[in-house]
């Protein structure tokens, strides 16, 4: 059933891609093929392949339980937070925080995860800053101008 659902989603995506390609405007002096044809081919092949998935689905993949999905969601939020915090908050604090949470999610032990996070943060900072010479800031720049 999972395969069928994803097949339908892919078929819809292929249709959307096709529709979006029809909206492209070819300039007056275009080559014989133009900018539309190759995207057309791609969407047609994807559409046909999605049909095979809908008609002959594979076995259902083993989906994790709901709580695992929740922790995957948390992991995504943590990573997005990390992406945004790297510049304003400096390297050390966000890295220690994110690495600790991710480590805890793989192996749920508070103290070990915290130690892992902090040592990864400091260790990687030393490698990046002093061995590889990247322009990282340890702490927010408003602390040290």
């Amino acid at each position: 059933m999972s395969d069928r659902l994803i097949g339908i989603i892919i078929a819809l995506m292929a249709l959307a891609f096709f529709a979006s390609a029809t909206q492209l405007e070819a300039p007056f002096f275009s080559d014989p093929v133009g900018p539309k044809l190759f995207p057309y081919f791609i969407s047609i092949i994807a559409f046909l392949a999605s049909f095979r998935m809908i008609i002959m689905p594979d076995e259902k993949p083993t989906w994790p339980v709901l709580s695992t999905f929740a922790s995957l969601g948390i992991a995504i939020i943590v990573l997005v937070f990390y992406a945004y915090s790297l510049r304003p908050l400096g390297f050390l604090v966000p890295t220690a925080l994110c690495a600790s949470i991710l480590s805890y999610q793989i192996r749920p032990k508070y103290i070990t995860s915290l130690i892992t996070g902090i040592s990864l943060s400091i260790g990687l900072f030393i490698i990046f800053k002093f061995l590889l010479g990247l322009g990282l800031f340890a702490f927010p720049r408003w602390i040290w101008g």
Binding site: P27, F38, S43, M53, A75, L120, L132
Partner: protein, 506 residues
């Protein structure tokens, strides 16, 4: 081969060694070999994602093209060696090509012969990689000559062949492989169309006008996906490890498996040459054919030394072979060579026949380094193998967060954009779902990398022929490539029962 060609070969080789034997290059090769063996040995990090996370970092080091290539190919060769260590000791393949090594390597280790298995497989790896590098040296310049005859129609057919064989051989479900290719090609269409200068599929988002950086996609799909997979499984790959007692050199076994190693190397090399096949297929075919050829195969799967030597020779030979289509035609033969191609493209080096005439120092420096790196790897992997077995004890709860942080810093220092980091997370999520639905992710990468070139070659062919479609099939070379492409995609459907992979022992 006449005398002139041999003289030319030696002239090229001495050029290569003059580059490879500088202190910096040698140092980079040593670092690459050590890092590569570690990356290969660690379960959860393979050659593809290992090389992927190191690429952004190698840029920030400010290495020139040859040096960056030397570092990355040493990592690549090293990872092929390292993959066997956890296969043999933990029954967990360190990377995909090493899956076949678990079949006989782990039983051999359980019988108390872990050291012998490691040395034997290290030696087989050396022979396989050495022969493949010699093959690369001899064959690549010849193929580069042939490639001069390729026009846009031939290149279009060649790209098609790469996608078809990769889809046909790499997946059990051709439809899923096709979807994966289309996904990659579709992503490649985003951004400015090089022929007309107009933007396509950007949705008006300024960040997307330059298209999606393939390094962002690669690191997302290969490194970030891994953290999600490990969070789901809680890293519970705690197989009972086998103790490594002492290391001696099993000369008797090395002599006993000499023909096995040679056969495995040849098969692996040919598998590596095929666009889209790569090292996993190389080790698989080497093992299966060895099992079919030998008279008494009853001990296969129970710790037969031939079952350890064949796949290791095969996968290392395939790794060398896969460099040939990548360097001469710009068509990668595997996931990792696709990542190496991404490296070349970012360095502004266009692989292809012109590379051999215009940048001989890059090609021959690389070949000379591979020869040197291979000797280093033999030293690292036979007498010093004990050091690398220690690395297996690094738990996933430290390794994976570390890999994730390195990926973020690498991509951020390369592009300096938050948008790319978000895109990378997006690709990580995509990779997780692709894996759940067993849709292969390597074709996505290949599609992103080659999509633009494939479209351009089609459009150029049509400009040349003034819109006549029969031009695509107008030369014997392109007809041959089209036939091979269709066969490569369709044949595995019928050969499924023969090519069925044996299940690893529990």
């Amino acid at each position: 081969m006449d005398l002139g060609l041999i003289m030319e070969l030696f002239a090229n080789l001495s050029l290569g060694f003059s580059i490879a034997l500088t202190t910096t290059t040698l140092m980079l090769a040593v670092i690459g070999c050590i890092l590569g063996t570690m990356i290969g040995a660690l379960p959860g990090l393979g050659p593809t994602n290992g090389v992927a996370i190191l690429i952004p970092i190698s840029f920030t080091l400010g290495l020139d093209a040859t040096q960056a290539l030397v570092l990355m190919t040493s990592v690549y060769y090293g990872a092929m060696y390292g993959g066997r260590i956890s296969s043999i000791l933990l029954n967990i393949p360190g990377d995909e090509p090493a899956v076949m090594t678990t079949l006989d390597g782990y039983p051999m280790a359980k019988n108390g012969r872990a050291g012998d298995a490691l040395v034997l497989s290290g030696f087989a790896s050396f022979v396989g990689a050495f022969l493949a590098t010699i093959g690369l040296m001899l064959l690549a310049p010849m193929l580069a000559q042939v490639a001069f005859m390729f026009g846009p129609a031939e290149y279009f057919a060649l790209y098609l062949l790469a996608f078809c064989t990769l889809g046909g051989l790499g997946s059990n479900n051709q439809a899923k492989a096709a979807i994966s290719v289309c996904l990659g090609l579709g992503i490649a269409m985003i951004g400015v169309d090089s022929s007309t200068g107009m933007t396509r599929f950007t949705g008006g988002n300024l960040h997307l006008f330059d298209g999606i950086d393939f390094l962002v996609a690669i690191v997302g799909l290969f490194a970030i996906t891994e953290i999600f997979v490990f969070i789901e499984s809680h890293g519970k790959e705690t197989a009972i490890g086998v103790k490594l007692e002492k290391i001696s050199i099993p000369i008797k076994e090395i002599v006993y498996t000499r023909w096995t190693v040679l056969r495995g190397s040849c098969i692996g090399f040919v598998a590596g040459l095929l666009p889209g096949a790569g090292a996993s297929i190389g080790s698989f075919l080497a093992y299966m054919s060895e099992k079919a050829i030998v008279k008494d195969n009853s001990s296969f799967g129970k710790g037969d030394p031939r079952g350890v030597a064949a796949p290791e020779a095969g996968n290392n030979a395939a790794a060398g072979g896969a460099l040939i289509p990548m360097l001469t035609l710009g068509i990668p033969g595997s996931g990792t060579t696709a990542v190496l191609l991404a490296l070349l493209m970012t360095l502004n080096i266009t692989p292809g026949p012109l590379l051999f005439t215009e940048r001989p120092e890059v090609v021959w420096g690389l070949i000379a380094t591979l020869l040197i790196a291979n000797v280093m790897l033999l030293i690292l992997n036979v007498p010093l193998v004990k050091f690398f077995t220690k690395i297996l004890q690094v738990p996933a709860s430290i390794l994976l967060p570390g890999v994730t942080m390195i990926s973020f810093v690498g991509i951020y220092s390369l592009t300096g954009s938050h948008f790319d980091l978000l895109l990378m997370i997006g690709f990580g999520v995509l990779g997780y779902f692709l894996r759940k639905f067993s849709i292969p992710s390597v074709p996505v990468i290949l599609g992103i990398l080659l999509g633009g070139h494939m479209e351009v070659s089609l459009r150029r062919a049509m400009v040349l022929s003034d819109g006549d479609w029969t031009y695509l099939l107008s030369s014997p070379i392109s007809i041959g490539l089209w036939v091979a492409a269709i066969l490569g995609f369709v044949a595995p459907i019928f050969l499924k029962s023969i090519l069925k992979k044996p299940t690893p022992n529990q």
